[in-house]
């Protein structure tokens, strides 16, 4: 009898113990490099302190790779919150992998610009946007360019770097080209025609953003369509570069947060998303990484003018493609890009 009572007490104690040790812990799937370091310092550490929780940082892979991993694991748990490029969030949502996010779970949602609430289609908020800009070598490209047309200027033969369409910058360049030809993401033919015309000017066929840095350092290339935030980081490093949103306007890529259906600690995951959308975190993020925040309460000091598009007016000038369409069309565009540029190069020889 006594043994039973002891065992029962022990069982109770163990149950209580495990309840107390129920970890307030989530795994956040972010990006590596500077992004990861800043994320830890500006967002994760204050969050852990304020909520007495723990955030495990998983820095593996690009947005597309995060989607691939999520798709491969389906119902099995891999992480609680993830960052995604807009179109990857939509693809994941469509495939039934994401948990819907509403203002009841994330009270900061109504503080975002309308497009940032809307474009995630309920699968998550757009947390920041980053416009495609024209990056140029200030010493070599004179006068300072103000139009995308400079990429096609025969004076800059071999001096332009571009990314493959399988990568964001290449995809958005294709869209810019389509807009310049009077089309858009749904009438893409003119875009491909313009990309073919660009081929003689391309001196570097690159993919990921960090690859561009040495090519600009060596002055192998002088011009490139590039992401605004990363361009500002390169300028901060002291390279003689300029970054401009051309007069024709530009398109912006969106970053989103999402919570997968397979997440273990959804409540804490929602709190994390909400915390990231608070004005102080959004502003700290914009100051360091030069992404445009989507919380409409955020302002930046005057020295950021021209470096980060902040405020309703500046954001109003950016265009956002139909990301749903991008998610669907991209596979076909990758194939078409491979074939058309191969042809254009063969013809050129």
């Amino acid at each position: 009898m006594r043994t039973v009572r002891v065992l029962a007490a022990l069982a109770l104690a163990m149950a209580a113990g495990s309840a107390a040790a129920q970890p307030r812990e989530i795994v956040f799937s972010g990006y590596g490099g500077d992004y990861g370091e800043l994320m830890k310092k500006l967002v994760i550490e204050p969050f852990e302190k304020r909520l007495n929780a723990k955030v495990v940082y998983d820095a593996t892979g690009s947005s597309a790779q995060k989607l691939a991993k999520l798709r491969a694991s389906r119902d099995a748990y891999i992480y609680d919150v993830t960052v995604f490029t807009g179109y990857d969030l939509l693809a994941a949502g469509r495939e039934g992998l994401m948990e819907p996010i509403a203002p009841t779970q994330v009270p900061n949602l109504p503080r975002l610009y309308d497009f940032a609430q809307r474009e995630g289609q309920g699968w998550g908020p757009i947390t920041s946007v980053d416009p495609l800009i024209l990056l140029y070598n200030r010493d070599r490209v004179k006068p300072a360019p103000d139009s995308w047309a400079v990429l096609w200027d025969p004076r800059y033969k071999g001096k332009v770097a571009i990314s493959h369409v399988s990568e964001g910058k290449g995809l958005y360049l294709l869209l810019v080209a389509a807009y310049m030809a009077g089309g858009d993401e749904k009438r893409i033919d003119g875009g491909f025609a313009k990309i073919r015309e660009l081929v003689p000017n391309v001196g570097a066929w690159l993919t990921l953003s960090p690859q561009y840095v040495p090519y600009f350092q060596r002055e192998d290339v002088w011009l490139a369509p590039y992401w605004s935030g990363r361009a500002q980081l390169m300028i901060d490093q002291g390279l003689p570069l300029g970054a401009v949103i051309p007069k024709e306007g530009t398109l912006a890529i969106s970053n989103a947060f999402g919570v997968p259906k397979s997440a273990r600690n959804k409540a804490l995951a929602y709190e994390f998303v909400n915390f990231y959308l608070d004005a102080p975190q959004q502003e700290a993020w914009a100051r360091k990484i030069y992404y445009t925040p989507t919380n409409r309460e955020v302002t930046l000091p005057p020295e950021y003018a021209g470096r980060v598009a902040v405020g309703a007016e500046a954001i109003g000038r950016l265009r956002f493609p139909d990301e749903d369409h991008l998610a669907r069309a991209r596979g076909a565009w990758v194939e078409r890009w491979n074939k058309e540029i191969y042809d254009a190069l063969k013809y050129q020889k």
Binding site: A64, E219, D220, V334, N338, K339, L345, K346
Partner: protein, 271 residues
């Protein structure tokens, strides 16, 4: 056996199964099996061209690496000089460095404003930079360097195994160095040459980093296509089909090569 199953057969089986799966982007995978992924590749002259380019590049790099590697391996096997240890270290050293780093090294050397072009320009040997980057030449240079340690190491052993007395006998019977090499050394080392070139060929057709960073859109190899499908467009079925086709064709070439070698007189099966 279990290890072989887990590390080799299981992933291959999964890959094979994936290649028959249909996929529509943005929807849960539909059920059923399809040949569409194979039809898409084999029915398209562009994709058949990338297959040809991959195999052609593989053969070209293999011939170059074995040709360049043979004298080095010979020096390592026969040399009695003191620099031998250093030479051996030089051969093995690249294997200790990640291929990504090695490729970035080549980019620093071969870029338009890279070390090689700057030197040639300063010496007045060229009037404008030679284009290495994003050309066939650049990728070939990178891949030969990538494959060279394997080529050399696979040859050193077999050359060492040839009794020097045989070469000395040939020489003392009046054969010149060239004739000795062609009639004695080369035939006796053919098995090593065969095994080495198979390894180098396999490494080259599967290489991803060098073509991705140094090749341009005029040289699309299958590893690049597979990467695009697996990580970007997420059309896994097509990616798996491309991988399966590469595997089948490369294995077919292996078997053919082995068959040809077994017909050559005096050569044992490599293995």
């Amino acid at each position: 056996m279990l290890l072989l199953g887990v590390y080799f057969l299981l992933p291959l089986a999964l890959l094979l199964a994936q290649s028959f799966r249909p996929l529509v982007i943005g929807q849960p995978a539909p059920p059923g099996l399809t040949l569409a992924n194979y039809v898409r590749f084999l029915g398209d002259p562009f994709y058949l061209g990338t297959l040809r380019a991959t195999l052609g590049l593989g053969i070209f790099v293999t011939v170059l690496a074995m040709t360049v590697g043979y004298p080095v391996a010979y020096g390592l096997a026969r040399g009695r000089h003191r620099g031998k240890a250093l030479l051996r270290l030089c051969v093995v050293a690249p294997l200790l460095v990640s291929v990504v780093i090695r490729t970035y090294g080549w980019i620093v050397l071969l870029a338009n404003n890279g070390v090689v072009n700057q030197t040639l320009l300063a010496l007045g040997l060229i009037g404008e930079p030679v284009r290495f980057m994003f050309t066939y030449t650049g990728v070939t240079i990178g891949l030969v360097h990538f494959a060279l340690p394997v080529a050399i190491l696979s040859l050193v052993g077999v050359i060492e195994a040839v009794d020097p007395a045989l070469e000395e006998a040939a020489r003392s019977l009046g054969a010149g160095p060239g004739r000795t090499f062609l009639r004695i050394t080369l035939p006796l080392t053919l098995p090593g040459l065969a095994a080495g070139s198979m390894l180098v060929f396999a490494l080259t057709v599967a290489a991803f980093v060098t073509p991705a960073l140094m090749g341009g859109p005029s040289l699309i190899v299958l590893s690049t296509l597979i990467y695009q499908q697996m990580t970007v467009t997420l059309e896994w079925g097509f990616g798996a089909a491309v991988a399966t086709i590469l595997l089948v064709v490369a294995t077919g070439l292996f078997l053919l090569y082995q068959r040809l070698l077994s017909l050559a007189p005096g050569v044992e099966q490599p293995g």
